[in-house]
Symmetry: C2
Subunit: 185 residues, 2 copies
């Protein structure tokens, strides 16, 4: 028996990240989980227009995505409860830059992606930003045999409906592989 | 010390779902993880044009998102290793419909979202589909106090880079709340 529960979005959990921009000459960081993958190095993001960060992204046509670990939950959530409009968040982290000088990245977070804005859609209350990753950076500490290891990242997974953060559990199967054990295969 | 690792997309894990369409009068389901949230009831999805499902979405301007549990990993992955071009996947599940008759949903999966296509971008190798959720359905089994409980869904989390499926761990903090314990707050 199915319950009809309105138009609730149940596509969770999603990884929580800090999106970096430069506004008024200073790095600013905003907490986001509505960032998704469209194809290999193309990402999309839906950002409410009330946020300060959108102005920086529209002006500079760049942004960064910085992936924290659960140990960095307090500072990550803090960046979502205060606005860059009235709080200087530039001193919270050591910022570094790749090829673009308006996509500040967070040294203390293990994974960083430098992005160029390639599309911008106006969805009323929200800007939809589509970006191309031009450089990815990571710490040695999250690599296993040269590959990024999710368990070592220990990402902060977010559920909008209950407003809770979740940890990642264990890896248990190979994709494009376990399906071959289906009786119809 | 940061390693530069090309333009790798490290925005994982993402929830694995089956996207439903009707093609040639029959339900078809494809495994997807590149489905994201743009705002409340708006989702986006990047789908390689080689897939059969895109034709159904473009023709009908509808699709569904069906959320499996880890217990359904074999059939979920199976839908990603065989193509609707030459395999009839309509008999794998009991399909049901909401208000639209071309967005088949999977009875056996605990959460289902019926979506209307509202935007379609051409990104070369990929179609970008943007949809509005018009109805969400869920089983009693995943509700706690009337709210969808991620632990009860037990979603299949996907990492593209290592091609592994992961389980959800535990909930450990409240969003928009734990950040208020930061010394700068």
């Amino acid at each position: 028996m199915k319950n009809k529960i309105g138009t609730l979005n149940a596509l969770y959990p999603l990884p929580t990240v800090l999106v970096g921009t430069v506004i008024n000459g200073k790095p600013n960081y905003i907490t986001m989980a509505h960032v998704g993958v469209l194809k290999a190095n193309i990402v999309c993001m839906g950002m409410a227009k009330v946020h300060f960060s959108g102005h920086g992204i529209i002006e500079n046509k760049t942004f960064s995505i910085n992936v924290p670990s659960t140990k960095q939950t307090v500072v990550t959530d803090y960046c979502g409860v205060v606005s860059g409009k009235n709080t200087d968040k530039s001193e919270l982290f050591t910022s570094f830059y790749g090829v673009m000088k308006t996509a500040p990245m967070i040294e203390e977070f293990a994974v960083n992606m430098e992005c160029k804005l390639i599309d911008h859609l106006d969805y009323g209350s929200h800007d939809i930003f589509i970006g191309e990753i031009v450089n990815t950076f990571c710490d040695d500490s999250v690599l296993t045999d040269g590959q990024i290891d999710l368990k070592k990242i220990d990402p902060i997974l977010f559920d909008m409906n209950t407003r809770k953060y979740w940890q990642l559990g264990d890896s248990y199967a190979k994709a494009w592989s376990i399906g071959k054990t289906h009786p119809k295969f």
